[in-house]
Symmetry: C2
Subunit: 315 residues, 2 copies
Amino acid sequence: MTHEELVAGVRAGERRAIGRAISLVERLGPEGRALTAALHPRTGGAWRVGLTGPPGVGKSTLIGALVRHLRRAGTRVAVVSVDPTSPFTRGAVLGDRIRLSDHFLDPGVFIRSMASRGHQGGLAEATADAVLVLDAAGFDVVLVEAVGAGQNEVEIQSLTDTVVLTLMPGSGDGVQAIKAGVMEIPDVLAVTKADREGADALVGELRAALGLVPSGPWKPPIVRVRALEDGGVAELWEQVERHRAFLAEEGRLEARRREGLARQLRALALGRLARRLDAAVPAPELGRVVDDVLARRADPGEAVDRMLARLPLGR
Amino acid sequence: MTHEELVAGVRAGERRAIGRAISLVERLGPEGRALTAALHPRTGGAWRVGLTGPPGVGKSTLIGALVRHLRRAGTRVAVVSVDPTSPFTRGAVLGDRIRLSDHFLDPGVFIRSMASRGHQGGLAEATADAVLVLDAAGFDVVLVEAVGAGQNEVEIQSLTDTVVLTLMPGSGDGVQAIKAGVMEIPDVLAVTKADREGADALVGELRAALGLVPSGPWKPPIVRVRALEDGGVAELWEQVERHRAFLAEEGRLEARRREGLARQLRALALGRLARRLDAAVPAPELGRVVDDVLARRADPGEAVDRMLARLPLGR
């Protein structure tokens, strides 16, 4: 496929072209760069929704239920997973529980896992570019799945318009992190496995934790879901839509995207500098620097100077 | 105090000199650099122990109990807190519960909170340098308190010899993170508030989670503590000592410090690049770049090029 064919294919929403395009941007090379440059003018139409939360709370099951819900309404939906523990990543999308196999021939659904290894600090850039490709391909909604609480190098808050934090009964750290102000406040909270013991307690704790943080005009709603039975999924999406309507007022969406983009561009620049540093100071050279510090021939400050002095100048 | 007086004061373990020295390295300027360079040859003698865990599990109370325990044995101990939610940070060290006031006149104890704001990406460097100062000041043990599970920019694993993960009944995310392989395996696990309901269940879950990860010659022990009553604190420290003895064999300590230092130097280099980037692309300039991307006059890749082109490279 030529560059032109690829661009045309993505714009037409062709599955094969989209898959190829994402593989290309994942490589972070000049071809991927040219592709995102060509597709960028066509972006901005998708609603980007982040689903975060600790591993094991059922984010993927919830995503499966959301996809079914959205498809019933005819909404075109793409999923990008950057959770290394996601069944999407582990290739288990055919599993009965997730039932995403329903959508394998449905051109209105596209699911992609960003392999969590081998990006060498470029996962954030590859993910942002994959979302860009899916946006340009005309999906109405792009769901981004990520491990929450800063455990991931991809900063979901700056990449998406609405962030849903997913917690299940027994996940106390998330509540603690909100209470302590360590975690950014999500826009919507989903309590999964809501039929389990402890769900009421978790909702209560979350309410209390949210009460402790200064709140603006948006009060993050808490929705109980039992995704395996699709219970609460419509209500959850309703809250996402409500948040979307909220952002549509008073220029809030533009302000949020501005701020998110500023953080994202900074993160992308730092990711590129990290890859440049790793290329300029490969493992054997870093080993020599470390030896000098351990032998007290250099102090850590000098060692860092030496590493930075090897960075190529200019762009 | 001149540079020479400061260096001599730190080496002599004088409280005032140590405090001044840390304030100086926190500024990340040339004076701090000169100081760490002068002190670096005297380091390596302290045992560095990281205490991580979600906010609210009682890390600071546990540290208070460990300090009392260590002082009874005559061990000189310093504490560096990089947990923004720590009572040390909030200036509550005089609180009855922590009873650290006992040590205010004790030259064998030094407690310092690294303010979590205003470092502009330099918290990791400031913390590493503070630990270096305390090591050079002759403390036998340096405890570093940090929020766990990657919620913090300071990578505790690369800064310390032994990492203690602290969890309390109800903190399910930590267990999930271990199970999923998202969290690095700690060397010792402490279950705080061990008299609470759910402690047995947590110990069981942790054991099961540890059973899922490939294990080497060291099996992380799980210790129950009730720090308010000093219960289990001696046992916890015994396990830290046991880990120390383990590392002393077969060149393991050297290997660990080599690996930790390599990661640390890379992180310090990236931190310095981040500060350089922020200086080269201040907020108004970044705002202009963001405007161009939002107006589709530039794609994100070009925007990052423009940001990086402003960077003065070299040292």
